[in-house]
C-alpha cells in the first residue's frame, strides 16, 4: 500500500471513528468532544504555520477572536443570519491575518514571536476598549433562536456535534492534502532551511505570507464556529492564554503531523478534566505532565509514534 493511500485511509478512519463515537459515548463526553473538535481546528490552523512552516506565532488568539467577533458582532448587533455571519467572521480573520503577515514577516525568529504577541495584545485591548460593543471580558451571548446554520439548529446536541465534525473533517482533509502538495513541501523546505529554499528559486516570502493567511483564516473559522456552536463570544478568548494553548496542544500532540493537533487537544482537555474531578490541583498535574512530556516525548505524542513505529505518518 502506498503511503498516500495509507494516509488517506488513516484520515478517513479518524473521521469515521469520531462520527461513531457520537453514538457510543455518554452525553457529557459527546458535548466535550464537540468542543475538542472545534479547538482542534484552531490547533490545526496553528500547526500549519508552526509545525509545517516553522514560524512560531504567539498571537493566534487574535485570529481566533477576530473570527469569533466577526460572527458574533454581526449576529448580535445587526441580526445577520448565521451563514453570512460565518462568512463575515472568516473574511475578517483573513484580512487581519494578511495585515499581520504583511508586517510581521519583515521579522524572523524571536522577533516574529514577539511582534505577533504584541499585535494580539493590541487586539485584546481593542476588544476591551470598545467594551460598549463587545462587552469586554464579560462577553455576550448569541440568541439561541438565531443559531440555525443551513437549516440545522446548532444549539442542539446532535446538530452541534455534526457541525463541529463537518468543519473538522473539511480542515483535516484539506491540510492532509495541502501538506503533501508541492506548496506544502515548499513550506516544509522553508522550515528546514529557508536560505537553501530561496536559492533553489522559490519565493519564500510569498509562501510564508500565504501560510500566515491560511493559518489565520483556519483559526478564524474555528473562532467563528466556536461562537456559533456554543453561543458565546468574549474577550477572554483574545488573551495571551489562548495564544499559548494551541502551541501547547501542537507541541504535545506532535508539531508537523496532521494528527498531532487533535491528539494534543484531546490529551490536554481530558488531562485537565479528569484531574480536576480528582483534585483541586489540576494545574499542578498539567504542569508536571508538560514537563514530563518535554523530557520523554520531545516530538510530541504523534511525533514519537512516527519516530518509533509508523514512519509513514503524515
Amino acid at each position: 500500500m502506498t503511503n498516500a493511500r495509507r494516509s488517506l485511509y488513516l484520515h478517513l478512519g479518524v473521521i469515521a471513528l469520531l462520527a461513531a463515537l457520537f453514538f457510543i459515548l455518554p452525553a457529557y463526553h459527546v458535548s466535550s468532544l464537540a468542543r475538542i473538535m472545534v479547538l482542534a481546528v484552531y490547533a490545526m490552523g496553528f500547526n500549519l504555520l508552526f509545525g509545517y512552516t516553522g514560524l512560531l506565532s504567539l498571537g493566534h488568539a487574535l485570529f481566533f477572536a477576530t473570527g469569533m467577533y466577526g460572527l458574533g458582532l454581526a449576529m448580535y448587533h445587526f441580526d445577520v443570519p448565521a451563514e453570512p455571519a460565518f462568512v463575515v467572521g472568516v473574511i475578517c480573520a483573513l484580512v487581519v491575518a494578511a495585515a499581520v503577515g504583511f508586517l510581521a514577516l519583515r521579522t524572523s525568529g524571536v522577533s516574529f514571536m514577539i511582534v505577533t504577541l504584541m499585535f494580539a495584545q493590541a487586539g485584546y485591548l481593542t476588544a476591551l476598549y470598545f467594551g460598549g460593543w463587545t462587552r469586554g471580558d464579560e462577553g455576550f451571548v448569541i440568541r439561541q433562536d438565531a443559531r440555525v446554520f443551513l437549516g440545522a439548529d446548532v444549539s442542539t446536541e446532535t446538530a452541534r456535534y455534526f457541525a463541529a465534525l463537518t468543519l473538522f473533517s473539511v480542515v483535516f482533509l484539506a491540510i492532509a492534502y495541502l501538506v503533501r502538495s508541492p506548496f506544502g513541501r515548499t513550506l516544509v523546505a522553508i522550515r528546514e532551511n529557508e536560505e537553501r529554499t530561496r536559492m533553489l528559486g522559490y519565493d519564500t516570502h510569498r509562501a510564508k505570507l500565504i501560510a500566515v493567511i491560511l493559518s489565520g483564516t483556519i483559526s478564524g473559522a474555528a473562532g467563528a464556529a466556536y461562537a456559533l456552536l456554543f453561543g458565546y463570544a468574549g474577550a477572554t478568548f483574545a488573551t495571551v492564554q489562548y495564544s499559548i494553548f494551541p502551541l501547547l496542544w501542537v507541541l504535545l500532540g506532535g508539531a508537523g503531523t496532521t494528527l498531532g493537533p487533535l491528539i494534543g487537544v484531546v490529551f490536554m482537555f481530558y488531562l485537565i478534566d479528569l484531574s480536576s474531578s480528582v483534585t483541586q490541583a489540576y494545574m499542578l498535574i498539567a504542569g508536571v505532565a508538560l514537563v514530563l512530556l518535554t523530557l520523554f516525548a520531545p516530538q510530541g505524542l504523534a511525533g514519537e509514534l512516527r519516530r518509533r513505529a509508523f514512519r509513514w505518518l503524515p
Partner: protein, 308 residues
Amino acid sequence: MEFGPHLMLAALEGAVTAAILALTAMGLSIVFGVMRVVNVAHGEFYMIGAVLAWVVASMVGVTPALGFLAALVIAPLVVGAIAVVADRVILERIAYDPDRTIVATIGLLYIIQQTTLMTFGPDARPVEPPFNHRLSLPWFEWGENGFAMFWPWGLSITSYKLFVILAAIAILTALWLFMTRTKAGLIMRATQQDSETAQAFGIPVGRVYSYVFGLGAGLAAMGAVLVVPIQQAHYLMGHDPLLLSFIVVIIGGLGSLPGTVIAAFLIGMSDGIISVFFSPTLAKIIATLVVALVLVFRPQGLMGRVER
C-alpha cells in the same frame, strides 16, 4: 492641577515602574543573552520572590525595617536556588532546545502557580515598608510676584518609592561591576560570546548556565521584594511583569544589557505619563502597537546588533 506639576508626578511614578521593570527584565535578558533560553516562567520567579518577602517579613516581625531587609536578602537567594534546581532537573536534560524549553517553562509556570495557591492561598497580602514618609514636592513657577516656589496640593511621593529607584540603580550598578570587573563575569561573557569555544577553554558551561539561570531568577525576585510594599503579594501577580519584561528585552535588543535599561526606562516612563493623561487602555493599545512596529522596522531592537 496644572500640566507641569502633573507631569513631574507622572514621571516620578513612571520612574518607580521603570526601576522595578529594569531589574525584572534584566534577569530575563541575562538568561536569554547567555543561554538563548526564553524563560516563560520568569514572571513566576518574580511572584515567588514577592510571596517569600511576605513570608520572611512576617516571620522576622521585630520591626518592619528588619523584616524587609531580611526579605531582600533571603528571597532572591531562595528563588535563585529554586531556579538552579529547575535548570538542573529540566532545562539541562532537554539540552536547551528552544521549542521544548518554552513548553517546559510553561509547565514550570503552572507548577509554581498552583503550588503557591495551595500553600500561600488566593489572598493578596501586603508587606509593610521599612519607612514611608510622605514627601511634598515643591514646584517653581513665574507667578504674579515673580519667580516663586510653592507646594501644590497632592504633589507628593513617599520616601519608600524614592528608595526603590535608588535601590534599583544600586543593584544594577553592582551587576554591571560584577559582569565587567570580576572573573565570574568574564566567564559569563565568554559563555555568551561562544559557548563551544568557552567549553574548549575549560569553562564548565553547564554550571555557568545553572548559575546564570539562578541569577536571572534572583534579579526578578529582588524586583518583586522591592515592589511588595507598594503592591501586594498575590499568586497571579507574575503575568504582567512577564509580558512587560518581554517587551523591554526585545525593544532593548536581545541580550543587550544597556539596551534593556534604556528600554525599561522608556516603557516605565511612557506607561506612567500616558496613563495619567489619557485613558489607560488606549495608552496600552498605542504602546503595544508602537512596540510591534519598532520591531517590524528595526528587528534588532534599539541597541542590538544585526544578526548574521
